[in-house]
């Protein structure tokens, strides 16, 4: 495989099409006015002529004059009795835990004037070390979801009638009797106290059973561990102790079991601390579609989903453990031999995992780990995980029970089976045979719509609770606001119906925790409780233990398919199994690999034609992608056809396609409805009752149409990548513009954007970076206005802010992007606007491919404003709205900006965003809030949603540019803290929102003038470079080059 280009972002780019070049030069694509006028259907709506214009002008001037006559009387409303802990204007932080199904993350909740506005990680947690996920970051927005239930209600035929809690309790007393066959259906419950409540309810109603399932489950792994170890649990994985990691399809950095914890541990052996003694773990991913974890792997082995069983068997047999790997494709089979050798070499430091939901395959994984001595080293059963407890067959058994009519009451606790079971339709029908159907869901969903009682539970930020994500590592959920609506904690409802002595869940929880105090070495329960609430986490400490391994066999592995198209279903980083579908922050978060937003898409493989030097077969939508257009194809499975926009995906195995689960919700709030298709009904259930997250025999039609609003940010805000030209490495943007005059700045220059190499050749990489940086400095010195001379005094004292980003650590998870949106009031624009390049994210994560075109490696590069000390944007602003501070910040004064957008045009990094519409409804004049193309009202239009806005950051109105400010509000706050304490500023005083969100510590921020600080130290690595250093913008963001540990596989 010949490398045509060194780095590329997509097909059009790899083909070096002229549209991409054009795109890289123009900041604004498809200006809305021009688009509106050229569009015929919309053209009819645009009826404004000169007369109207004059009328509006006259009215506008008049209205402005009248509006300015009188200043409205504003009130200052104080507290009646001010709580001691609240000082208006000062944020308070409370320790709590983000919990939703099997996702858990200990957090600190930032509240202002009593309302939660931001989530930070809890650094006291040993599990996450203060890291967060995009989902945890976005959870604060779901508190202010306008679709939440406002009160308890009864429902008939999907129509809700508001009711009171007294009436509901009375109805329950009438409906539930000691003899009733009651089923509590839930996803994984990690709270020990909630389980106690279930037990108390079961004591009151002895015929109650708790049925646990997970939409994306580890059911087969639980069964396999029961067979091999007698423990039906997910063990604790120590990625920090693993030097060789082989993952069969498990997206452990993104979605699998405990990604925040795994990413934190995994990255410990991936960071290059000392370039002269570089060492890295080796990570192989065996998968069909490219997952986020696969994109971070050193080597990927591509298989069809049905080949996963034989691939595991091939590895097992190569390790001498038996197993028949026949049927595996030749390339993968050859690679398995190398993998086996490497694994053997790191005996005791190896870790093999799989997301397979086939019991026999999971038993083989256990065997492999047993041969490699992983148990007791990289896998531990002492502090086993509670994050996946669901057994798929239990849900199926419940369905059978319901169909037979033997269930009297169904209590749906934090689950949505009608949507996310493979046979959800059958479940919906069977629900009609259950007399009493109660849903605890906080907002409407497919299952709740079919229940006859809705008893909404509080949002987790309004609740008390506890979580035991791993055995012995507890964390508490603490309310940070009084319930916004007339909702009631689910546990209180159950305790009330069980006629418990204690129905208040706070008292119940406290009593439950008091029993732990003695063993924790506290004298009294209350001091233990106070400390636990303060810290939010409590580690009971467990000793590592591994039960004896018993060989077991059960079921059979999947038979590989050789023909037809197979579809792999995967969980997306943001939306997950579908429970987060109504969160617009997560909908707008681009998928790290596909770079798509607002929907699930069909990822299809790419085939490189060596002879033609182009792609063959389906060649993507070609240049249409650039314009926000994608081709539509029909996918038919089980007789049901669904239409998908198609994304050609590098690293997708032959004859396979990938689709994300969690989309296509039918009963959900505004953000999630009508987005994508539901693929759960396409899934199969195997003989052990486990759901298979892939399907065979799919039929994919040809192109059946065009998706004209394809919200993929692939080609948005690109700024040129390097490629080969006449044997030289050149900037693909500029090769056609300036074909002569090599070596001059702005002409054919190999721009420095990303650097990468293997760990074996790290010395070469260091030398290359040095050469490039020296050359850049040489170029920069050949100017009429030598930078150093003019700025010698400038940053010689005080602060000089800078950022360091380790590309080796960044895994592309997007937590920083969501954290930035929450901190800086970055608007949500919606799918249509994203397709027009109008996404507003201040921090984007660029994704570059390199290596083999069919199975490339990936670099993730977070790009935000580089705060250039010689900034090109500042020079072109006609009103000086953007200028430079003495601390090295590239300042943006919104109220001075008149919207010429010259700055965005002149920004080489394409990080400036323009408010094309009034996305946050900040405009004083209502007329300005209308959208010109008849879009729906902005997501922040509702006052409830606006409660999430950070009061320290200006809400921008239409017509101004905005961009990353290095979280200047945090800088100012940090400086104030240091001044108040009369000491020098420390690194810990100022941490940007992206930095605190990052699990893997890829982002360092600080004062470069503080030579003892982390930031200064970070810039000293020989792997550090600045983007586009040769154009003399003197940026303040330093990147550390990507290093991988890629190994050659012997050919078969």
């Amino acid at each position: 495989m010949k490398n045509q280009l060194d780095n590329w972002v997509g097909i059009s780019d790899k083909n070096n099409e002229p549209e991409v070049q054009e795109l890289a030069q123009s900041e604004f694509v498809g200006l809305p006015i021009a688009e509106t006028l050229s569009s015929e259907s919309l053209g009819e709506k645009v009826t404004a002529n000169r007369r109207d214009f004059l009328k509006y002008l006259g009215f506008g001037v008049g209205a402005a004059a009248i509006a300015s006559c009188e200043t409205p009387v504003r009130r200052a409303i104080p507290y009646v009795s001010k709580p001691d802990t609240i000082v208006p204007g000062v944020a308070s932080y409370y320790a709590s835990t983000f919990v939703s199904g099997g996702d858990a993350c200990p957090i600190l909740v930032k509240t202002r004037e009593g309302r939660p506005i931001k989530i930070e990680g809890n650094p006291m947690s040993k599990m996450t070390g203060g890291g967060t996920s995009a989902r945890a970051q976005a959870s604060v927005l779901s508190l202010y979801d306008v679709n939440r239930f406002k009160s308890a209600s009864t429902s008939a035929d999907g129509a809700f009638t508001a009711s009171t809690w007294e009436a509901i309790d009375k109805a329950m007393a009438a409906n539930l009797s000691a003899g009733s066959n009651i089923r509590i259906l839930c996803n994984t419950v990690m709270s020990p106290t909630t389980k106690k409540v279930f037990a108390e309810f079961q004591a009151a109603y002895p015929n109650t059973k708790v049925v646990t399932y997970d939409p994306v489950s580890c059911s087969a792994m639980l069964q396999a561990n029961e067979a091999n170890f007698g423990m039906k649990v997910v063990p604790n994985y120590h990625f920090d102790k693993a030097q060789t990691i082989v993952s069969f399809g498990a997206d452990f950095l993104g979605t699998w079991i405990s990604p925040v914890e795994f990413a934190k541990d995994y990255i410990k052996n991936r960071k290059i601390k000392d370039a002269s003694h570089a060492k890295m773990s080796w990570h192989v991913q065996v998968e069909s579609g490219m997952s986020m974890t696969g994109s971070n792997a050193d080597n990927r082995i591509m298989i069809r989903p049905s080949e996963q069983g034989v691939a595991i068997a091939a590895l097992l047999s190569a390790l001498g453990g038996g197993g028949n790997g026949s049927g595996l494709n030749a390339k993968a089979a050859a690679a398995m031999a190398t993998v086996a050798n490497e694994l053997k070499a790191s005996q005791g430091k190896a870790l093999v995992i799989s997301n397979s939901n086939n019991k026999a395959e999971q038993i083989m994984i256990n065997k492999i780990n047993n041969i490699l001595g992983s148990y007791g080293n990289t896998i531990d059963f002492g502090s086993y995980s509670m994050q996946r407890q669901g057994i798929d067959s239990e849900a199926q058994a419940l369905l059978a029970e319901m169909e037979s009519g033997s269930v009297d009451a169904l209590l749906v606790w934090n689950a949505n089976p009608v949507y996310d079971l493979p046979n959800g339709g059958a479940f919906a029908k069977a629900m009609a045979k259950v007399k009493t159907r109660v849903s605890f869901a906080g907002s409407n969903d497919e299952t709740t719509a079919l229940c006859n009682y809705s008893t909404p539970t509080n949002h987790f930020l309004e609740s008390w609770g506890d979580v035991e994500a791993k055995k012995g590592s507890f964390s508490l959920v603490q309310p940070t606001i009084t319930p916004l609506f007339d909702t009631r904690q689910g546990e209180t409802s159950l305790l009330t119906w069980a006629k418990s002595a204690v129905t208040d869940y706070y008292d119940y929880l406290k009593a439950s925790w008091a029993t732990m105090a003695g063993s924790a070495g506290f004298l009294s329960g209350s001091s233990f409780w106070d400390e636990a609430v303060h810290n939010g986490v409590y580690d009971a400490g467990t000793s590592s233990s591994v039960p004896a391994f018993t060989d077991a066999s059960g079921g059979s592995i999947t038979t590989p398919n050789t023909s037809g198209v197979e579809i792999q279903f995967y969980e997306s980083i943001g939306i997950g199994s579908g429970i987060y579908a109504n969160n617009p922050w997560l909908q707008e978060l681009p998928d790290p690999v596909m770079r798509t937003t607002w929907g699930n898409y069909l990822a299809v493989p790419i085939k490189w034609d060596e002879a033609a030097g182009r792609f063959k077969g389906y060649n993507g939508s070609g240049t249409k992608t650039v314009k926000g257009i994608a081709d539509l194809m029909n996918v038919t499975l089980k007789g049901e056809a669904q239409k998908y926009s198609v994304v050609p995906q590098f690293g997708q195995a032959d004859s396979t396609a990938s689709i994300a689960v969690g989309y296509g919700r039918s009963v959900v709030g505004r953000a999630g409805s009508g987005i994508g298709n539901n693929v759960y009904p396409w899934m199969q259930i195997d003989s052990d009752g486990n759901t298979q997250y892939w399907a065979k025999g799919a039929e994919i039609s040809g192109i059946v149409g065009e998706d004209e609003k394809f919200p993929c940010v692939q080609y948005h805000h690109t700024f040129g990548v390097t490629g080969e030209y006449d044997g030289e490495t050149v900037n693909v943007d500029e090769v056609d513009i300036v074909p002569v005059g090599k070596g001059y700045q702005g002409a054919i220059t190999d721009r420095s954007i990303v650097y990468h190499d293997t760990v074996g050749n790290i010395d070469g990489l260091v030398a290359k970076i040095k050469k490039k940086r020296d050359f850049a400095n040489h170029l920069n010195s050949k100017t009429l206005y030598p930078y150093d001379e003019y700025t010698a005094e400038l940053y010689s004292q005080g602060h000089h802010w800078g950022m360091h980003i380790d590309l080796n650590a960044c895994i592309g998870c997007g937590a920083c992007t969501v954290s930035c949106m929450a901190e800086n009031n970055v608007p949500v624009v919606g799918a249509g606007e994203v397709s027009r390049h109008h996404e507003m994210t201040w921090l984007r994560i660029d994704r570059y491919y390199y290596g083999e075109a069919e199975n490339p490696n990936v670099i993730y590069q977070p790009v935000m404003c580089q705060h250039c000390d010689n900034a090109p944007c500042e020079n072109v602003c006609p009103v000086n709205a953007t200028n430079h501070s003495s601390e090295g910040l590239n300042q943006m004064a919104y109220n001075r900006c008149v919207g010429t957008r010259y700055c965005a045009n002149n920004c080489p990094f394409k990080v400036r965003r323009f408010n094309w519409l009034d996305f946050t409804t900040a405009d004083l004049f209502g007329a300005n809030q209308n959208s010109i193309n008849g879009e729906e009202p902005a997501y922040y239009a509702d006052n409830l949603t606006r409660m999430v806005l950070n009061p320290d950051v200006t809400v921008r109105s239409r017509g101004v540019i905005e961009k990353c400010s290095f979280c200047v509000q945090r800088i100012q706050q940090g400086k104030l803290t240091a001044k108040a304490e009369g000491r020098r500023l420390k690194d810990a005083d100022v941490k940007t929102a992206c930095q605190t969100a990052c699990t893997v510590g890829a982002i360092t921020f600080g004062d470069m003038n503080n030579h003892k600080g982390e930031m200064y130290k970070a810039t000293e690595s020989p792997l550090v470079y600045r983007m586009l250093e040769e154009v003399n913008v003197q940026s303040s963001v330093y990147y550390q080059a990507k290093v991988n540990n890629k190994k050659e596989f012997k050919n078969a």
Binding site: T71, A76, V80, S81, V90, S796, G798, S885, A980, G982
Partner: protein
Amino acid sequence: MICKSLNFKLFCFLLLFPFLQVHAEGDIKVGKALFKANCAQCHNKNMKDDLTGPALGGVQERWEGRDEVLYSWIRNSQAVIASGDEYAVNLYNKWNKSVMNPFTNLKDDEIASILAYVSCMDDGSCAPQKVATTGGGDNTAAGAGGAVNNNMLYMVLALILGLLALILARTIANLNYLKLVKEGNAPASRGTLADILTSKGVIGFLVFSLIVFAGYTTVNNAVDLNRQQGYAPEQPINFSHATHAGIQKIDCQYCHDGARRSKHSVIPAANTCMNCHVAIEKGSKFGTAEITKIYASVGYDPNSKTYIEDIENVKSDSIKAVYTKWIETQYRKTNSIEEGTELKKSAQRVITAEWDGIVSSLTNDLKKELYGPIPWVRIHNLPDHAYFSHAQHVSIGEVECQTCHGPVEKMDLVYQYSPLSMGWCINCHRETEVKFDGNEYYESYENFHKEIKDKTREGVTVEEIGGLECQKCHY
């Protein structure tokens, strides 16, 4: 002007005269000092109203001349109660068994001095302080009036001078003309004033002046749009900073406790008011009319000195009963009308009017109940895109509140003293020096420190450490 201020000085002197007289008598002067140091925390200094302790006026009469017992009561009241003195025990029970602090160090002559001061304050022979306040008020009014008069004076002067100039010009012109006539080269017709006024030059000049003036006024007024310097809205409570900060000398940050630690100075919660007003039930100016508003807003029943339980569910009629009863009781007390006697219609009107005032100030379209936060009118409004931190200026910059808010301690009704414009902020940042000394934070400004050490620099202004940059306030 001069006569005005002279008058004022005289006026003040006359006001102070009684005090000067009092100073001549030694024991009352000593008594006053002792009273302030020991008694004023609990006993009202007007000697007529109850505070934490009873009003002291007529104390010696109440103890029926038993000065020895009274003296030992003052030194240690608990001992007198223990001795079983009937009056002492009754008094103790009447005041809900609240213990008076012992003052064992007071000598007999000192106690005599205090009692002398008490009786002199009670019978009014020592002047009450009220008059002095009025004097202060007059001062402000006189100052403001003077400024207006000044302008008028200038205008009149300008007019007179203009007229004089015109007359002189005319005289000179006439004389010149006469001279020409005498010399025999007088022109045929003489230019009249109308000719001059309608000449191109004059009209041109007038039009030009008009345009310049109109432009100047427009720009100035446009700049001032939405600025509210001098804004002094009526507040729901006639709260006087002059009384609290001026006379009582309560520290600004006692109530505005956010100023030192937050971006907001914080309008105090009603429970902060209650710290003092649980004891001070009547104001010096408005009696019960204003302070009762505080009680109504926090749900405090002054009759029984308890907070009304479960106030949110108490009917508004019974709330009305509580406060009208309180106002009536106090009215009777002030006007010495005994309980039980019928009140005159005029008295009832006073009580009703007071109640109506309370209702109208504490309720509005959004807030129907009396109970709840007091809807103060916000005076200082910064635009949303400007970030201002009180803590930075008060705690670190050590700027006095008055620098920006003006003489609040003299304001009965608070007004916006400063323009709160960006130019005003910027100007202060240009002129103000940073408190470099003693704050280690500023050590990172090494060059400045070196220059100060080398005596090449005196101080560092806020501007020099970046105080004029956009993102110091706009983010």
